[in-house]
């Protein structure tokens, strides 16, 4: 049995260099938010037709990725797969950081971000958005507790129950996020219960990919071993999740095609809609689904898994872009059988060109998440000294203490 030892990140240039770059990005994001707030959203590419734009693509990417990033910890704690336990702390940390980054974007994009306190105190409980406020804050609290019991050896016995709660909560969270779109009854591109499992599958693929890349980065920064067998194992997991994501995307579009009134919007998204079919087939299906699956199942190595992870994230971004922007770009159908026109573009496809402030705000959110991860691994014992294949993590919770006090403790991590 090998003990897992966790240590703070020790590299100096590998810490300060990225930190400075990330803080600059955060600053650019905050500056953009102020600029949008001061001038109004007229300075963005968003308008009355595309009311949710690039910031929301980034926000949903981070929020969905957050719940998926927790998956590695869940596999260890809830399903008891020992090989995943050494990675559990980083997995939980990443979940917290990504969610915080996503929520920051969402809040800073509000028309009245100064009224955040209203959003946190005044609720309409029929709104899935209001439920999500509780799902998000609850997820943060539970995952912080989860990380705490994993790191506090005297509380090792709590790891499984708290980890199980976190796992159930993350399923609820992604169900809630998918339902933000799934419950929009008036829009043919959304209004489907399959949005919830689709978002869960998407989150698993996206979160696992993000976890693989960030773990590689941090371990490499300190020159710590990240054995190829662990990388390819995570890669296979990513491949399975990418397949699940493609499956639910298939269900989403095929069932919509079966409903006559939805054929026009499906035609728009899959065939005739310009950028959206390109992003769907090229980005979501091929780059984000088929190629990563081929790489991890038929040509697994460290570099192919890392490439597959990058592609999976690009594919997820394309998928979310098609859902959010593509779903809004297609006009609402108010008068079936009629050609419709008006001075506010009724009946016409909405144009959308993302603006620089939107992109900067979105990148700022990612930078917030990565800054939090980098600082946390610097001051807390999150990163294992090594991730190698034969690790038997029956004592994955042991930290750096001598093994004497650990005897007889249930395999907890």
């Amino acid at each position: 049995m090998k003990r897992v030892i966790y240590r703070e990140l020790e590299t100096e240039p590998g810490f300060w260099g990225p930190l400075v770059a990330l803080v600059l990005l955060v600053g650019a994001g905050l500056g953009s938010a102020y600029y949008m707030e001061h001038h109004g959203h007229v300075v963005t590419g968003m308008d009355n037709r595309i009311v949710w734009g690039l910031p929301h693509v980034f926000a949903i990417l981070l929020i969905v990725g957050a719940s998926g990033a927790l998956n590695v910890a869940s596999v260890g704690s809830v399903f008891g797969i020992a090989a995943y336990k050494p990675m559990a702390r980083l997995s939980a940390l990443l979940a917290i950081a990504l969610l915080a980054g996503g929520l920051a974007i969402l809040v800073l994009d509000l028309g009245r971000p100064d009224r955040l306190v209203v959003a946190m105190t005044t609720f309409n409980f029929k709104s899935i958005f209001a439920w999500n406020v509780f799902l998000y804050t609850g997820f943060l609290a539970i995952t912080v507790a989860y990380l705490y019991v994993m790191m506090e050896r005297n509380l090792g016995g709590w790891t499984k129950p708290v980890g199980t709660l976190a796992f159930i909560w993350r399923l609820a969270l992604t169900t809630g996020t998918g339902s933000i779109f799934g419950w929009l009854v008036a829009r043919d591109a959304y209004n489907s219960a399959v949005m919830a499992p689709l978002f869960i599958a998407l989150s698993l693929a996206l979160g696992t990919a993000a976890f693989i890349l960030i773990t590689s980065w941090l371990l490499a920064a300190d020159g710590r071993p990240f054995e190829e067998s662990v990388v390819t194992r995570l890669g296979r997991l990513l491949g399975i999740f990418a397949a699940a994501n493609l499956y639910f995307a298939g269900v989403q579009h095929i069932s919509a095609l079966y409903i006559a009134e939805r054929v026009p919007v499906e035609d728009f998204l899959l065939v005739s809609g310009g950028i959206y079919p390109v992003l769907f087939w090229g980005g979501q299906v091929i780059l984000g689904g088929l190629i990563p699956m081929a790489l991890v199942f038929f040509a697994a190595s460290r570099s192919t898994v890392l490439l597959a992870s990058v592609l999976a994230i690009i594919g997820a971004a394309a998928q979310i872009y098609v859902i959010i922007i593509g779903g809004q770009a297609f006009p609402l159908s108010m008068f079936p059988g009629y050609d419709v026109s008006s001075n506010i573009f009724d009946g016409a496809i909405a144009d959308y060109t993302p603006s620089l402030p939107e992109a900067a705000l979105g990148l700022g959110g990612i930078a917030i998440a990565l800054t939090a991860v980098l600082v946390a691994v610097r001051v807390l014992r999150i990163l294992p000294l090594q991730l190698i294949g034969e690790t038997d993590a029956a004592d994955g919770n042991a930290g750096t203490q001598s093994s004497g006090s650990q005897k007889g403790r249930p395999a907890a991590a």
């Binding site: 308008d47 009355n48 949710w52 028309g111 009245r112 709104s127 108010m334 050609d339 419709v340 001075n343």
Partner: protein
């Protein structure tokens, strides 16, 4: 205790300036004592003072009683009378409520718009105003996280801009593209139609006029333009003109498939 109390009332807004210091001090004492009752009773003051008036509300007088579900306000728009190219209702709404084009058609406010439709098979063309349909089951109200989007007891769907955070989820949820988000700073609003950057807005059915016993500006303008295509009235009152017309003629709700029970109905669509 405020620095700015009775003895120094010259510094402070409202007091009469003709009082001698002694009078002022005495009055301050009386007011302090009265303040306790006022704190407790101020809401009642409002209620007591105006309770009698609400019942006998006259046109032009402010409403003193809460609205109830006894009434449900609605509009009937007769397309056979609505002229293509006529924008009288749109202009009247804009003037009444103070929204206007800022030169950015994609982000400009549009509480009401004229939509031209042409049947693909028969080629029949119609023109009709579309605005908030004041649904009985409004999707915008369901999705609003803070409850800013709400339906008044009398069926008018409004945005409480005091608690709107500008998330735009209601704009996503509305089947009618009836809501707009205020993308730019606003100045010199009408006192009865407050609106400001970063919140969502839509047709209020001229709620300030309705509360004063008047008709919405669009209805008035349509009549003034000689079309009389719009009828405003109480859908709950079988004797009202709008209810009688709906009983007599087939009328249409846009997206009737959603069963939102709209307050705005269309005739001859």
């Amino acid at each position: 205790m405020s620095k700015c109390n009775g003895g120094k009332s010259a510094d402070c807004g409202c007091n009469s300036e003709t009082s001698t210091p002694v009078e002022t001090a005495r009055r301050w004492f009386l007011k302090s004592a009265a303040a306790f009752t006022t704190i407790a009773l101020a809401p009642n003051v409002t209620l007591l003072a105006y309770a009698q008036e609400g019942g006998a509300q006259q046109p032009g007088q402010p409403r003193g009683e809460p609205v109830t579900a006894q009434k449900r306000w609605g509009l009937l728009i007769d397309l056979s009378k609505c002229a293509e190219g006529c924008e009288a209702c749109v202009g009247a709404c804009s003037r009444e409520n103070g929204w206007k084009a800022e030169g950015h058609p994609r982000t400009d406010a549009q509480w009401i718009r004229k939509v031209n439709i042409k049947n693909r098979k028969s080629g029949v063309e119609r023109s009709l105003p579309v605005m908030c349909q004041h649904c009985d089951s409004p999707p915008c109200v369901d999705v609003c996280p803070t409850g800013a989007s709400f339906k008044r007891a009398d069926g008018i769907v409004l945005v409480d801009k005091h608690i709107c955070i500008g998330c735009r989820y209601c704009v996503m949820a509305c089947p009618y593209q009836a809501r707009s988000f205020i993308h730019e700073p606003v100045e010199d609003q009408k006192s009865y139609a407050p609106r400001g950057k970063g919140t969502v807005e839509s047709c209020t059915l001229c709620v300030h006029r309705v509360d004063a016993g008047r008709e919405p500006a669009c209805v008035e303008a349509c009549e003034a333009a000689g079309h009389k295509a719009m009828i405003f009235g109480d859908l709950n009152d079988p004797a009202s003109e709008i209810s009688q017309r709906i009983a007599q003629f087939p009328t249409h709700q846009i997206r009737a498939d959603l069963r939102l029970d709209t307050g705005v109905r269309y005739q001859n669509l």
